[in-house]
Symmetry: C2
Subunit: 540 residues, 2 copies
């Protein structure tokens, strides 16, 4: 998978983009390298065959249309994540045809849903030479059952579309959004095992039933989906026999063309909280305070502990806090945080229930948190504070794009890579993690803009590696920094739950050879030509 | 898989059991047929090799020790579910050795945990010629984390052992038991995707991390389990890359040797409820009343609707209700139910929380249920009623064997097969289901002893097909009846979530050829010699 590097900027600078290079199907040729073993003739034939399936306007190999699929926020200094084409089918049958064509020409294809996997590689493929299989046109909300609280959607459906549908039809169900919910969609996010903010935040846990185009072109429905006349496809997760839905998450074993999900009934009362703690060293204490509340389900949603720097980076520029070139010291951060109503750690959670249940739980939570030295704040105190408003919105399944502000922290270059190692939800885990993260980030000149999240029993450390991607030196450093983060955290037992297309092999290797061989065995059995998303999660 | 039938009773009657037949390793020979393609010499060699691994006292091929593994409550009129031997390893390394031996001699092995899969086939294999791989000696509770609410256990651990461990160590965590919890165990039940009674009743949902001996003898740990030094193996379900734990449920792709699980913190207040409804036709109304309470999580555990006949069968003999040979008419059932404080439907659920939350939720629930015509009853009214006490115990993770009483309903012959079709949790589903079930059961002379359960969004119809297995005619009829239930419910879209070893092919076929081929492809890739539990879930 190496030796196929392209300097996109050099190509762009040389005026290739926009030049009338005669190429495939009469369009301009894409200068990105083809996949290993795929000849120009086969690539051209595959593109032509796909074009015949979807129509000329929905299959592209010219740089103008393809380059946007390579736009990422992650470090990619060697421009390895550039596709050679894109095809956008409108139906399941077209997806089947495309998969069969890919097999015929051994042309790899990289499925995306809405392609907004921000900070993990967006729409870009893990390895060179792939055609992006863009499912954005398959964007129907096929069913919402207001009584059961279920939905069945296609991959191109965005969270915004689903939210609008519920609002327009007065259906009292909530969605659960990840960051950048408006442009992202439930299928892509769930398949990447993304996480949101409400009690339904563990998206894959609340997924129910899939339709999958297998690498051989057959359509399979999981769970109860293959039972003619069943009412339970979106009601019962497991079906009969091996439960296989998990195989289609963070993997390349099939193209998911429909996905069922559970939606949360809108609670009569929703009360969001913010807890302010004064010192960076408080986070261990916060985790140990929140864990029993979360594990006992007194708090039903994930508990998000946002560092001041992460919070500031959402709405401020770095040079509003410290001068360019200076390290982001705690004193400066604390000062800016205080000026904006923030603590050094800001913990968000909510109560969902009835008047009575919320009133019953609130004092218990206040007592526990008070003992940890935290200030308990609600809408009454925080009013229109933009940070509080942001989290208040997200924890009620609301949509906003505030976190896109992170991309402007160091300038307009838009560099962001999420690093997300996992531990048990114990305060003792935070000391070493925060220290190690700061050491590595400092070394490369980046800031500790991070959060911790308690899920069901887990503690995710979510580090936003922010850099200016328009600065080649910063991109190089960010790349090296990310790799060192993955490697050194992994050595301590803190492996990632998710990673960008630039680091999938690195993370997969940490999970060991037996697991990799197991995945490779399944891959080869299901996809003997390895046409589906090679490189995804380190699976060739 | 056909043509290998043995009349066990005939053999027993002929005095073969107990006769000094010279056989393998000096013990008496097992007259059960060998697996297709396995020669006597290879079987003998495999047994000898396994004996060398585990010691002579833990590998058996003589009928005396093997026949108990064939004891089931399900109909098996042709005695197809008789193993040819059993081997009981004490360590993971021994399991690996046994798997390697099985491959060398192409001798199929059938893993069991505690072997108490009552009403689904207990310890018996799906097809003839298998050696039972009995994991009962691997019965260590490896870890319980009281703070996280997690446990890591071996397959031989029973629910009783885990409960005793928690009690003995004053750990305020609950377990969640299926029926016959004392003798069954969490690994076997979870892998069969069994269900219990507390908010953690969907066992596979609350499973976290596995260790698996793969069919090639390698050991794989799922989730975070392969990360050296990780604290998150029992804290975070998914790991990185495809989530594969589901592959090892209801399947034959590996031998699970360790399993992690989440345990529920003991709530400060636990209040069980029973709702009495007067008529068989009320069940649809009950489902529609309970669903919104369940889907909104106002009620956090599954809602179990027990028909009067099922309830009576737990503690009564059939001939206490109607004379032998007479149909079990509704009037007689209603009379007996009333005499025992029961309605025709008896719905059980509980509130779990604090004084305040329970007090806040109870009136809402009472109002909703009152509107459905149900009588809301609690410990205050039901006192020591044995049925209430039974469910009160189960919904608090308590243990009892009351439901074994079902086996005595029609005599001492102990015949029971669970039929468990799945639908969405809508009242409209019950009308057709109850009618069809009664029609088929009536046709074969059996009783409608059934329950419905609302899970997360699903409605399981749990029908206990009770017969006297000591009566060959009843066993034949029960076999035909079960098959007709599966077939005709399946035609209506009501397929089973789980079934006995005697009907796995039948159910698997309903899930269609694409799904079966998918499973077969994975099976062949992971287990090319098909040595692991052929026939399980219809996967050869």
């Amino acid at each position: 998978m190496s030796g196929f590097e392209i300097d996109r900027r050099a190509l762009l600078g040389a005026g290739l983009v926009g030049a009338a290079v005669t190429g495939i199907g009469g369009t301009r040729a894409n200068p990105a390298p083809l996949a290993p073993g795929v000849s120009k003739a086969n690539f051209t034939a595959a593109m032509n065959a796909m074009r015949a399936v979807v129509g000329a306007e929905w299959a592209f190999a010219d740089p103008d249309t393809v380059i946007p699929y390579a736009k990422t926020y992650i470090p990619d200094p060697h421009h390895r994540h550039v596709p050679v084409g894109a095809v956008a089918p409108a139906t399941v049958e077209q997806v089947q045809e495309i998969v069969r064509i890919a097999n015929a020409f051994k042309q790899p294809i990289w499925p995306i849903s809405t392609g907004k996997n921000m900070g993990y590689g967006s729409a870009a493929p893990a390895t060179p030479g792939q055609i992006v299989l863009d499912l954005k046109r398959m964007n129907r909300i096929l069913e919402v059952d207001p009584e059961l609280g279920t939905a069945l959607v296609e991959p191109g459906v965005t969270y915004q579309m689903l939210k609008d549908y519920l609002d327009d039809n007065n259906i009292p169900l909530w969605i659960d959004v990840p960051t950048v919910g408006p442009v992202a969609g439930p299928v892509g996010n769930t398949l990447d095992r993304g996480v949101g903010y409400t009690p339904y935040g563990e998206h894959f846990m609340f997924q129910c039933g899939m339709e999958v185009v297998l690498p051989d072109g057959q359509v399979m429905r999981t769970g109860m989906g293959s039972i003619k006349g069943s009412t339970a496809w979106q009601a019962f997760k497991w079906g009969y026999g091996p439960y296989v839905d998990g195989l289609f998450t963070q993997s390349n074993f099939g193209v998911v063309t429909k996905m069922g999900m559970w939606l949360m009934p809108r609670p009569p009362v929703y009360k969001p909280f913010m807890i302010r703690h004064a010192d960076m060293g408080d986070v261990g204490k916060i985790v140990d305070t929140m864990r029993p509340l979360r594990v006992s389900s007194l708090i039903a949603n994930g508990n998000l502990m946002m560092s001041a720097a992460y919070q500031l980076a959402m709405f401020k520029r770095r040079n509003e806090i410290v001068a360019d070139g200076r390290p982001l010291d705690d004193d400066s951060v604390k000062k800016a945080a205080k000026a904006n109503g923030l603590g050094m750690w800001n913990t968000y959670f909510a109560l969902y229930g009835t008047e009575g249940t919320v009133a019953a739980v609130e004092p218990i939570i206040r007592a526990a948190i008070g003992a940890s030295g935290g200030e308990v704040l609600t809408a009454a105190e925080m009013g229109d504070n933009p940070w509080f408003h942001h989290h208040q919105t997200l924890m009620a399944g609301g949509l906003n794009l505030d976190e896109i502000g992170l991309l402007r922290w160091r300038g307009n270059g838009g560099g962001l890579a999420w690093f997300a190692p996992v531990a048990a939800a114990k305060g003792s885990e935070t000391t070493g993690q925060t220290k190690l993260a700061r050491e590595i980030l400092d070394k490369y000149g980046f800031d500790y803009t991070a959060a911790y999240v308690i899920g069901w029993r887990d503690l995710h450390h979510i580090i936003a590696l922010l850099f200016d991607k328009s600065d080649p030196d910063q991109e190089q450093r960010a790349d090296a920094c990310y790799r060192e983060l993955v490697t050194r955290f992994g050595e301590k037992g803190w492996a990632s739950y998710r990673t960008g297309v630039n680091s999938m092999d690195l993370v997969a290797a940490q999970y060991g050879t037996v697991n990799r061989e197991f995945n490779a065995t399944i891959k080869h059995a299901l996809d003997p030509n390895h046409i589906l998303a090679p490189g995804k999660s380190g699976i060739a």
